[in-house]
């Protein structure tokens, strides 16, 4: 029967039942969410980066009268400009809301003179403003001097790569790429080495105080990335206590950024490398020992190759975190420009949204590359994990343990030190001159930046992000994992869910401006509200939650759904009664992850907050910007304590759930 061929005809397709329809509807809704909250804004940004606005002087014609009211011959603005040389090509480049006063073409203009002016478009698209009134016509319009001075030409839009060529020919902007890469590479090397030593000590030695070190190592996750910057300023800044240690170098610039980056990326690298080291196979080490390989050789031939995927992955994650970080260079970067700062400056400082979009696209490239490499590596790591191996058992070795203790001790002092400096600075009258304790820096309502409202707003944002985010993320992951058929739809959804990881916060924030601030967008109403902050934060941190949920869901028996449907029970009953309870630990993990990140994030929301939705993390930034460093440190520590409290609650809740579920998790 090997020659059997499938008879012609159409493949049997099952009728869609209610369950299937509901599942698809759910997935469609969440996919729609991701499209609106991610794909469309990114698209808006991308297309914006190809748009240029410039004044096209050939499109306008003027006529001027003498004092008696007799008009001379019409002349195009271009011709006048060629004659007078008022504007060069650079001056004519503009942004979407640029304006060019018509009077500039008439050096003798005086609004008191009886001279009259006429203006018209030479073609169909020649916009100009009379006051606020937009005109676009080839009809002559006549104005007296007093009105004419209120006439402004408007730029016209064209599409092309002009922004990019401008960007790459601007040495100041272009040098930011070098700076960003330089900072990211140095920080990555330092962080990975530091984290490797730390992870190695935790996993491969009998060092004491492991619990304490683990706790300290995770602390940087609880604070905004700009907090170490503030601490460094206190220590090594212009009035720093330890400024002399800098030996004439300035902490404002690459040195400060690198040290701060090591601080805030350290826990991320540590988690990845620690996971890689924890799956070591005892047998390999026994084999190496039986071959009388030296410790040093064993390290290079067994340990490093075994952990290589973890190391590569940690390096790429760190690189991405550093190159896309905005808070730290903002606080301590001084005159040292990096890409993330350029976006901020172009958008907030110069209102040049198109150029901001170009820098965003440039920043997107390394982030996307790092993301792709990381995904490939992660896949390999998973297959390593599933291999059956005997866990590694470290042997006592006094010298080695002392060495480990030293390494971890140094890192702990570094991390705790920076946090304590912040706390101390926040609690003293006036660093470093009056070190008596005071709570005045906590009186946020007396400084600019949003006051205590900013703090409560942040809590609100974090809670909403945790609740709605977990709901969306987990439901989405469930639909991807447990829906049958509908392959293309699931593939697309999976892609959308992975995408946020590759998109830096700054880029997302800017993309939101383009998309949601467009008056033509019906969703425009959420611009400037808490909703847009929640949406952007959920989207920004979507991927990690999605992956956590998928991992948990994959561990559930795939046969539950068929069983439930053979028992004629709707899937949502199974979902509520079984899936959610079984996945509760993962669900809690997702929500605490979203909460903590919503408390600390700066990059996306810095473009999106409004006066009544200021946030604690943004307040830290703004207070620091305004020179109120002590209140900034105080606010930063408020974030730290809030997150630490949330983590504690999370731990207690997880414990309780674990205890309750122990009975059914088996003997």
């Amino acid at each position: 029967m090997s020659d059997a061929t499938l008879p012609a005809g159409r493949a049997v397709k099952l009728k869609l039942d209610r369950d299937g329809a509901i599942k698809r509807a759910f997935m469609a809704v969440i996919a729609l969410y991701l499209i609106v909250a991610l794909a469309l804004p990114l698209y808006a940004m991308l297309s914006k980066s190809f748009v240029t606005y410039s004044f096209d002087l050939a499109r306008y014609e003027f006529q001027v009268s003498d004092e008696a009211g007799n008009f001379g011959p019409p002349q195009t603005a271009a011709a006048i400009n060629a004659e007078l040389g008022v504007f060069d090509a650079d001056d004519l480049r503009s942004s979407s809301d640029g304006r060019l006063a018509a009077t500039a073409f008439f050096p003798d203009f005086s609004f008191r003179s009886p001279v009259k002016y006429r203006i018209r478009g030479t073609g169909p698209d020649a916009p100009y403003l009379v006051g606020l009134d937009l005109q676009n016509t080839t009809e002559w319009k006549e104005f007296d001097g007093n009105t004419f001075r209120r006439i402004n030409l408007r730029p016209v839009k064209s599409v092309g790569v002009q922004n990019y060529s401008e960007y790459f020919s601007n040495p100041a902007l272009f040098s930011s790429i070098q700076n960003s890469v330089f900072i990211a590479v140095i920080s990555t090397v330092l962080t990975v080495v530091a984290a490797f030593g730390f992870a190695y000590s935790l996993n491969r030695s009998l060092m004491r105080f492991k619990g304490f070190f683990k706790l300290v190592a995770m602390m940087p996750i609880l604070v905004p990335s700009l907090l170490p910057g503030i601490a460094l300023i206190y220590l090594f800044g212009n009035q720093g206590m330890l400024k002399s240690l800098m030996m004439g170098h300035s902490i404002y610039g690459p040195i400060g950024i690198v040290i701060g980056s090591v601080f805030f990326t350290f826990p991320h690298a540590l988690i990845i490398i620690s996971t890689a080291l924890s799956i070591a196979d005892q047998r390999q080490y026994e084999a190496a020992e039986s071959l009388r390989a030296s410790r040093w050789r064993t390290f290079w031939t067994v340990t490093i190759p075994g952990a290589r995927y973890g190391l590569i992955s940690a390096a790429f994650v760190t690189f991405t975190l550093v190159i896309t970080d905005f808070g730290l260079p903002k606080v301590i970067g001084g005159q040292y420009n990096v890409l993330a700062i350029d976006i901020y400056k172009q958008v907030i400082g110069q209102q040049n949204f198109e150029m901001g979009a170009v820098v965003s696209v440039v920043l997107l490239i390394p982030a996307v590359l790092a993301f792709i490499v990381d995904r490939q590596v992660q896949k390999k790591q998973v297959s390593l994990l599933s291999a059956r191996s005997v866990p590694f058992q470290p042997k006592p070795n006094k010298t080695f343990e002392a060495l480990c203790l030293m390494w971890c001790g140094v890192m702990a002092v570094f991390i705790l030190g920076l946090i304590l400096v912040c706390q101390f600075a926040a609690l003293v009258q006036f660093w470093p001159y009056d070190l008596s304790l005071s709570l005045k820096n906590y009186d946020f309502n007396r400084t600019d930046g949003g006051g205590w409202d900013a703090y409560t707003n942040s809590i609100q944002l974090a809670l909403m992000t945790a609740v709605f985010g977990t709901l969306i993320v987990f439901t989405g992951a469930y639909m991807v994992e447990k829906i049958d058929g509908f392959k293309t739809g699931r593939g697309m959804f999976q892609f959308l869910a992975m995408l946020p990881m590759a998109v830096p916060g700054m880029v997302l924030g800017l993309a939101y401006i383009f998309f949601f601030n467009d008056p033509a967008n019906p969703l425009n109403a959420i611009y400037g509200t808490m909703t847009i902050l929640v949406v952007s934060t959920v989207t920004h941190f979507y991927t990690v939650g999605h992956l956590t949920a998928l991992t948990a869901l994959k561990q559930i028996d795939a046969e539950f759904e068929p069983v439930a449907s053979s028992l004629r029970q709707p899937f949502y009953r199974l979902f509520a009664r079984v899936t959610v309870p079984v996945c509760l630990p993962a669900i809690l993990d997702i929500s605490i992850y979203l909460f903590v990140n919503a408390m600390t994030t700066v990059s996306a929301v810095v473009f999106l907050y409004s006066t009544h939705t200021t946030l604690a993390s943004v307040a830290v930034l703004n207070m620091d910007d305004a020179g109120d460093i002590a209140p900034a440190a105080a606010m930063g520590m408020m974030i730290f304590y809030t997150n630490a409290g949330a983590r504690l609650l999370h731990m207690l809740a997880s414990r309780r759930i674990l205890r309750r579920t122990q009975s059914w998790r088996g003997r």
């Binding site: 029967m1 449907s565 053979s566 028992l567 004629r568 059914w664």
Partner: protein, 363 residues
Amino acid sequence: MPNNADAYLEIKDLWKAFGVFLALKDINLVIGKGEFVCFLGPSGCGKTTLLRAVAGLDPQTRGQIHQGGQDISNLPTSKRDYGIVFQSYALFPNLTVARNIAFGLENTGRPKQEIKTRVADLLALVGLPEQAEKYPAQLSGGQQQRIALARAIAIDPGLLLLDEPLSALDAKVRVHLRHEIKELQRKLGVTTIMVTHDQEEALSMADRIVVMNHGTVEQVGTPTEIYRQPATLFVADFIGETNKVATTYSGGRVTLGSVSLSTEMKGVAEGASVTVAVRPEDVVPHLSTEAGEGAANLLPAQLVDMEFLGSFWRCRLQSDILGGQELIANFSINAVRRLDLKPGLDMAVELPAERVLVFAEGA
């Protein structure tokens, strides 16, 4: 084949393709009401695929399935009428045994008390009345299996599907549960399909066995039919043990070296290349060709060695007529004692004509 009048499940011209790979090729099958049918075949032959098509979990590519007179070919799972037990049992870990069994009963408008009684009845039926409040993880594999069964039959399904329900259990529990499941099925009278690759399981439990190979049905029949009259060489080889020799067929006889054997097999083309198959237990021992006078189909052979397997002796024999090929025979303890068989003995074996199976090449 059961009488078509009481046909319950009909599978017609069914094909399943995974990409270009054909996992099922033109399956036709009728299962009667109340029948216990086993899908049996080597790993990868498509048993699970066929079961999943019946359940609507992984629909067939072509063909139709009728259940109880209704065309269910493109009905979604939830609209079909069956209970299912998987190899993993798929018990909900966070629900007690009672809640697991009640899962399909709740949410149907039945009063609470009725559900409670029904769950208690079911627990008694599967012999675990004391375990209602335990969680699945606190039960043994065999107990979990019975709970999964109770949950599947709780809703009185018209069809019970079992995918290798016993393969995760150890041998002893497995033999015990075989019996229990069969008993239960008989009591309930529910039409049942069980997938297995364990022939002993199939032979001992099934009313009829569907032997599958490479996505096709090789033979459908009762255990005795399958065993005594295998339709193809594959079936003869797969079910039980068999001695095989390649030769040709002519005039109702096959020739092995200088000996010509008669056979009762019909429908083999004259002069065709064939394979002769004889089961070890069908080989009859004689002291010599002369001693077996009256008997046809006698071969001289030497007893190479013997192995005592409790209820019989397993013997390896060699015969010049078969060339280098060995003949395996199972001799009864009686026969061995009576004939005083010992390794190294020159003797004769009889291959009874009605037990000599002949399969044309490619069949």
